[in-house]
């Protein structure tokens, strides 16, 4: 059976003026369904570039990226959008909720583009908000929520479609320690209880500690890749 993610000699080259910036340089990587991976590395090492590509927001300049066996490099923008909608959930450092739009409606958004009926959208989005502990906050606007709560709305939006892959680029980067721990516990639970594959970018060691595998990137290449826990099933008690 194919792995969830297979990167094979992936390059990402940005052209700025007449200088080529090589953000990814022949990176190869395999991630199985159900893994919890932390990606670390210094600023500018290519973490976000990799995440964007894994999330089908971008395509490699060279090399192959297969998601669930599908060659992503060959897809059209609309096909990429379809894959993002069906299989991928995003959590961003800056939450990226739609302003002046309620928590429920933000969480509904992916279902809206799936073409579900309004009723189904509402039921599922409310359920997703419940799972991240935001029951009763459905009608709150982003400005009426704390940073941690906003990030939980973003997680609800990411998991409302039951994706196979959840990508979080520095999800705790804008949060205090308390909120960071809450967010991480939610992600850990999603990985453990629902088998959602999670890939997370972080600069913080204690955040990375929630993951079972740690990949360090330097200059667009993998510097180290190691299992930090026996497997995705076991997890520290209480953390």
């Amino acid at each position: 059976m194919a792995s969830l993610i297979e990167c094979d000699d992936v390059w990402k080259i940005y052209r700025v003026g007449d200088v080529d910036v090589q953000a990814l340089r022949g990176l190869s990587l395999t991630i199985e369904q159900g893994e919890f991976v932390a990606i670390m590395g210094s600023s500018g090492s290519g973490k976000s570039t990799l995440m964007n590509m894994l999330g089908c927001l971008d395509q490699p300049t060279k090399g192959h990226y297969r998601l669930n066996g599908v060659e992503v490099g060959r897809l059209t923008p609309d096909e990429l959008a379809g894959i993002r909608n069906q299989q991928i959930g995003f959590v961003f450092q800056s939450f990226n909720l739609i302003p002046r739009t309620s928590a429920l409606e933000n969480a509904q958004l992916p279902l809206f583009y799936r073409g579900l009926s309004l009723k189904e959208q509402r039921v599922k989005a409310a359920e997703a908000l419940g799972r991240v502990g935001l029951h009763g906050r459905e009608d709150h606007y982003p400005t009426q929520l704390s940073g941690g709560q906003q990030q939980r709305v973003a997680i609800a939006r990411a998991l409302v479609t039951s994706p196979s892959l959840l990508l979080a680029d520095e999800p705790t980067g804008n949060l205090d320690t308390q909120s960071s721990q809450e967010i991480m516990r939610i992600l850990e639970t999603l990985n453990r209880d629902e088998g959602i594959t999670i890939i997370l970018v972080t600069h913080e060691v204690d955040v990375a500690a929630y993951a079972a595998r740690e990949i360090v990137i330097k200059d667009g290449q993998i510097l180290s890749d190691r299992k930090t826990k026996a497997g995705p099933i076991s997890s520290p008690v209480g953390a």
Partner: protein, 411 residues
Amino acid sequence: MAAFVWLTIMTALRILGRNRMRAGLTMLGIVIGVAAVIAMVSIGEGAKRAVQAQIATMGTNVIIIFPGVTSASGVRGSQGSAITLTVSDALELKKRIPLLVDTGWSRRDVLQIVYGNKNWNGPIYGISPSYLTIRDWSFTSGGPFTQTDLDSAARVALIGQTIVDNLFEPGEEPVGAVIRIKNVPFRIIGVLAPKGQSSQGTDQDDVIFIPFSTAERKVFGTSFIGSVAAMFGSTDQVEDLPMAAEQIREVLRARHRLQAEQGDDFTIKTQVDIGKVQEGTSETLTMMLFAIASVSLLVGGIGIMNILLVSVTERTREIGVRMAVGAKRYHIVMQFLIEAMTLSLVGGVLGIVLGVAGAKLTTLIAGWPTIISGNVIVISFFFSLVVGLFFGLYPANKAARLNPIEALRYE
């Protein structure tokens, strides 16, 4: 899809509601354009209909022949000054031209009419009985005079409503009453049904009809027996009017012994000619309306495009988020198109309401007749939609072409 469109419309309305001032200013061009067009078309239609109704009061398929020549400006130098048309001309035309159903004639003078202790200066028409049928006069009471009355120069009269109003008490029956014109007693045998204003704006009900022969011999005291001020003919079909007019011209030229190089000593006008003058004015009006509408819709459209471009820039991040969670190109295009069309449609509907109100107010205040046609409302609505669609396309496409990563990073 239905849910998508519905929710997008709701979202668009909410966004517009949030920026009410901005939305209002943006819509202003369309509101004013549509309102102006609706008001103007309603007033124009009302005026056109009124003129048509006035022209219809002339009679059905009528040809009018005046003595003398009408100048290009349409002002007759001296009506009836040249004594070129006679009763025998009219009779000859009827005999010679089969297209003419009938011919009639009239002469006019303004004289004092006395009834009891009241008097009134009104135009007295000496007419042939056929005049009444050609000009479609009907009666509210009594009836017309006949050929016998003409032959015997009977002292009978038909009076219009204005005369009735001025000489008789309300409720008093004029038929059977005797009035005096130049001290000659006339018995009223019919009251004419009102026609209102003519297309020249004269009161058509301010008339007294008496037999032509009676007028000649007992009232007008003319030295030119048999000369008439106007002749009238009518045809069965409106299409026959030009042909009949041409034949009349030929017969009259022959009878008046006009040489080829001489101009006509009479003027022929058909009901169609008179209508055409009016149509010409309304065509100019229509062109002007079209220009106003085009300019204001263009300005309105550009306003919408401008505000949408601003909106696309302001909401770049939102667009990025929508793309990240799976919005396809057409979803983004639709979102902005629907926003543009909502703007233009709301503007259009406001314009329609304002235009209709303006037309009604014009009727109320100025007393002009207005006709609000469903067509112009439907067309305005449709055009606002098209304006939104057209001017929304560029911003919508611009939004849909954004790169999701760059959009998400946009500050």
